[in-house]
């Protein structure tokens, strides 16, 4: 295992120390339990927006804490959902009296731990709402299982809900827009290589030089299928087909698109892929109105990428354009 770390067990807390040292103007980090809040939280009367999940997906979520986006993030151990006490502490720290929206990715662990935290918060008289993100079209038969995974749409939802809170949307309305974002988002990911969980010390899966995993999630878990490695144009074609055949859109609709690197993919490849995505979107009559190209929701050092499309209405586009100032996303300020 080749990692720039001190001890596998210390990765998360040491990285959090680094974040605190790097961004004291934007955020405050707490330890035991670990959580990150906006430097100016709680914001009186504003709906607080909280998210969290396993670490190893950086910049998500800690890198999205700040003005116009998350009020708090709860980083669990690498790929391990945060614990209820941790979430509760974050929720309490940022509640400004107007309640807290929890944005939760659809994994058993995340859902259950956030559920337990919400029960505890309600015991303490804090209003919370949870929206579970489940945008990953790679998951088949989702009707018969616990459904789809939550992936890229989480980033878009965090941005849009953060802006909604900034504009003064109340809890119900913020949760409403979060659900709307989730409902009109679809994602799909793929990987060329595995990642290595630091405490595990070896790659989560083995994959040979001429293979790829299509339909992976963000935890190094196997994907929908393993295929021979193909050209970028073919891979992008497969993924765009999967995403758009599930997205409720019609010609001329506008989307916010995220072309996301899994952590180890060089930017030159992401731009090359964007060229393919752009051509396909055009041929399908989809208008890419806004975009993110880069590493936003990663799987440690995995090579690969994901595509997220959000069919956006005027309200979402407006909220998207609102100023944001976080370690990983910034505009208008």
């Amino acid at each position: 295992m080749k990692k720039l770390i001190n001890l596998p067990g210390l990765v998360v807390s040491e990285a959090l120390h680094g974040m605190q040292a790097a961004h004291p103007d934007l955020l405050k980090v707490f330890f035991d339990p670990n959580y990150i809040i906006r430097a100016d939280a709680p914001l009186k009367g504003k709906t607080a927006v909280v998210s969290g999940g396993g670490s190893g997906h950086e910049p998500m979520h800690g890198g999205f804490v700040g003005r116009g986006m998350l009020h708090a993030a709860c980083p669990g151990d690498v790929f391990t959902s945060p614990t209820p006490d941790q979430i509760l502490a974050a929720v309490k720290a940022v509640d400004g009296g107007a309640g807290v929206l929890n944005i939760v990715k659809n994994y058993s662990g995340d859902v259950m731990n956030f559920e337990m935290a919400a029960e505890l918060a309600s015991d303490e008289g804090i209003k919370t709402e949870s929206v579970v993100i489940n945008d990953d079209v790679a998951v088949k038969d989702s009707l018969y299982t616990q459904g789809r995974r939550g992936v890229g749409a989480t980033v878009l939802a965090e941005k849009i809900c953060g802006a909604a809170s900034e504009r003064g949307y109340d809890l119900k309305k913020t949760a409403g827009i979060c659900r709307a974002v989730n409902e009109s988002s679809r994602s799909m990911g793929m990987a060329l290589t595995s990642c290595t969980v630091p405490a595990a010390g070896k790659p989560t899966f083995q994959i040979s030089e001429n293979e790829m995993e299509i339909g992976i999630g963000i935890h190094g878990e196997p994907g929908r299928e393993r295929l021979p490695l193909k050209k970028a144009s073919e891979i992008t074609g497969m993924m765009m087909d999967a995403v758009t055949s599930d997205l409720p859109y019609k010609k001329g609709d506008r989307v916010i698109l995220m072309l996301n690197g899994m952590g180890g993919t060089p930017l030159i490849e992401l731009y090359l892929l964007y060229g393919e995505v752009y051509k396909i979107a055009k041929s399908k009559g989809i208008l890419i109105s806004r975009k993110l190209i880069g590493n936003y929701i990663t799987s440690l050092e995995m090579q690969g990428f994901s595509i997220t499309l959000l069919k956006a209405d005027d309200e979402m586009l407006g909220l998207w354009d609102d100023p944001v100032l976080t370690p990983a996303l910034r505009w208008g300020i």
Binding site: P33, T80, Q86, S108, M116, V139, Q146, F205, E221, E225
Partner: protein, 221 residues
């Protein structure tokens, strides 16, 4: 019938801490195949913390995580629950935390119980797992170990078996249940996202639960 004392329960919990530490890599490897490669790490972290917490409580005067003395089953199980909830994370943290929480709420005896009470506590705990995770038998989860094990334990208990006999019967069915997860398609938990590809691998939580029952059958008998 042999009684299950509080010291035996502590021994069991300490043994689990050793067992999960020894099986950390194995369980993590099982989780690599159909999950995210952290199950062994999670349980090792959680049960080491449980051990430390119990030792802290037992070293006189110091209060447990739940702010209670360690000298009753209910406070002991509450401490185990709180510690797991705070340190494990993931699906197994929520589920095992709930398991021990339900047990701590249901336990009637203070320092000794018989095999029948133990079985009823396991039943309450597993109800908690079902409530929390909305899974059923056949979904390829830890429940596929626990549910057959509970049925066997219940049968043995109602036909008047000793604590040892009850637990041995439970272990046998637990092992069969665990092995049966290999051919199942996962419908709950992280492995469910794999669909067909989850077939052919043991469920890590089913294995770790079987290890828990095995240790119980050796120590709580």
């Amino acid at each position: 019938m042999n009684m299950v004392t509080i010291d035996k329960v502590k021994d069991w919990l300490f043994a689990l801490s050793d067992i999960y530490s020894e099986n950390r890599e194995y369980l993590t490897e099982l989780d690599s195949a159909i999950g995210d490669a952290d199950h062994g790490i999670n349980l090792d972290r959680g049960f080491s913390a449980v051990r430390a917490e119990i030792e802290k409580m037992s070293s006189g005067g110091v209060q447990g995580a739940a702010g209670q003395s360690p000298d009753s089953f209910s406070s002991l199980f509450k401490t185990v629950s709180m510690t797991l909830i705070k340190t494990v994370g993931g699906a197994s943290g929520a589920l095992l935390g709930t398991f021990f929480l339900r047990i701590s709420q249901a336990v009637k005896s203070e320092k000794e119980m018989d095999g029948r009470e133990l079985v009823s506590l396991f039943e309450k705990g597993v109800e908690g797992i079902k409530m929390r995770g909305h899974a059923e038998e056949g979904d390829k989860t830890m429940l596929d170990t626990w549910l057959p094990a509970l049925r066997a334990m219940g049968d043995a208990a109602s036909s008047g078996g000793s604590t040892g006999e009850i637990l041995s019967a439970g272990l046998k069915s637990a092992e069969a249940g665990m092995n049966a997860t290999k051919d199942m398609k996962a419908l709950k938990g992280r492995a469910s996202y794999l669909g067909e590809r989850s077939i052919g691998h043991l469920d890590p939580g089913a294995v770790s639960s079987c290890l828990m029952i095995k240790a119980a059958s050796e120590i709580l008998r």
